[in-house]
């Protein structure tokens, strides 16, 4: 949807929110339908396709062999990258460097790191010399709002789906051959993103709602433990609003994490 249409749309969305309604008739605290498919791609070491309403994100995992950082010689590493390209929105075909893509990716990445979801010591191959690096590449297929939460779910689902590649005698990856081991996740962090419109707090915003809002808050959680947060946009929140959002997120966590735990 073009910015101009969004701008026109924003007025009516605000009007509805004031009256306690959302454009798709959800409650303020309701997520859209969430669908997660895994093992969707034969080429990736792990993959997931997430639909959150119309928002769609595909995540693919690739293991690579690299050298460890000097200050952690026996630990592997990870890198999460979110691509917002023209495939999901014409807005991403043009314009300035993709600050949104960078911010959303950073928020998703930081939650996984702080949650210590991956045991990096288990990714060591030869201490001080060779370790696995896990590349988590996420690509938005449809950008209809709340890309942060959808990206986090897709990344975690793909990680849960990942198989560890076999290595040859020189510790290089053998293409398309896997060990019996799956990548173990120590924790499953989830992200919960809120927007504030006309003083009301809503979860899981659509793109049109994002356009009508001027304050965003994202929380990264493992159960009732906070692992990351990010306030964004030029609006502000009160202390009470922040506290309300964390309580709400803790309540939602169990519901959503079940869908990931149920995955192969």
């Amino acid at each position: 949807m073009s910015d101009i249409l969004n701008l026109i749309n924003a007025g009516s969305i605000k009007e509805k929110i004031k009256n306690g309604k959302r454009e798709d008739n959800r409650g303020f605290e309701d997520f859209r339908d969430l669908e997660i498919k895994t093992s969707v791609l034969s080429s990736a070491d792990g993959s997931a396709w997430v639909k959150l309403g119309n928002t769609e994100v595909v995540a693919g995992i690739k293991f690579a062999v690299g050298t460890p950082y000097p200050d952690s010689p026996d630990e592997g590493s990870m890198s999460l990258n979110l691509e917002l390209t023209g495939i999901s929105s014409p807005d991403f075909s043009t314009g300035p460097p993709q600050i949104d893509s960078l911010e959303y990716g950073r928020v998703a990445d930081r939650a996984i790191r702080s949650a210590e979801a991956i045991d990096f010591k288990k990714l060591s191959i030869v201490a001080g010399e060779k370790v696995f690096t896990i590349f988590i590449d996420c690509i938005a297929i449809n950008a209809d709002g709340n890309l942060i939460d959808a990206t986090e779910i897709a990344a975690l689902a793909a990680l849960k789906n990942a198989k560890i590649p076999k290595l040859d005698e020189n510790n290089n990856i053998i293409s398309k051959e896997y060990t019996d081991q799956k990548l173990e996740l120590l924790n499953i962090p989830l992200s919960f993103t809120f927007e504030k419109i006309e003083g009301k707090i809503i979860v899981d915003p659509t793109e049109a709602e994002e356009f009508a809002s001027d304050a965003r808050f994202s929380l990264g959680l493992v159960k009732d433990t906070v692992v990351s947060c990010q306030k964004s946009k030029n609006g502000v929140f009160t202390e009470e609003e922040i506290f309300k959002m964390i309580d709400l997120s803790v309540n939602k966590y169990t519901e959503i994490v079940k869908k990931i735990e149920a995955l192969e």
């Binding site: 034969s42 080429s43 690739k62 990258n81 691509e83 390209t85 075909s93 449809n142």
Partner: protein
Amino acid sequence: MSTRLDGRKKDDLRPIKIELGVVKSAAGSCYLEWGKNTVVATVHGPRPMFPKHLSNSQRAVVDYRYRMAPFSVSDRKSPVPGKRDKEISLVSGFALESVIMTEKFPNTVIDVNALILSADAGTRVAALTAASLACADAGLPMKGLVSAVAVGRANGDLIYDLTKEEEDAPDAVDTAIAITMPQKEIALLQMDGFVNKDDWKKMVSMGFSAAEKVYELQKKALLEKYPVNGDINE
């Protein structure tokens, strides 16, 4: 006639699965599985082109972006498009421009994106076939479809639709061809290899028949979603 590693005959295509309109917010879209290739194509626009001096006052420009997901190949591919990606994007975009009535939208750009999510040889033709359908799904006025396919040689045989294994044969030749349908003219033709003139001519002719098979599947998918009476090209 010898059978191939995957049991196909020389002139068999791999299984093709097409789904239209999968991406809700795009003007048009297509999900396509072609053997072990997986592609999503979307169409947005036409929209006014910026900066203006790059636009064409006579017609729309198709901005086609062929991209491979980092996890679509054996070794992770950098997300930065390389020379090969850009070359394929250029000539594939031209192929689409040959069937879209671009003259109806002067000074605009039509964004067509084709993303390879999983790759196993023939990705550029899978992408172009999907993109052509996404354009039709978007309701763009078109003179026809583009039906793209690879033909080539492996282990001494001239064959349709090579897999990655066949592409790795020592004598492999790979020709990507796209035919405008129903006009039957060549909209894309790219080849690398080493093949005598007569065999090469045979391959080009094979491309026409192979493309017709693709065209039938494209028509079927369109008619399923848009079960109108009459010609889909109107």
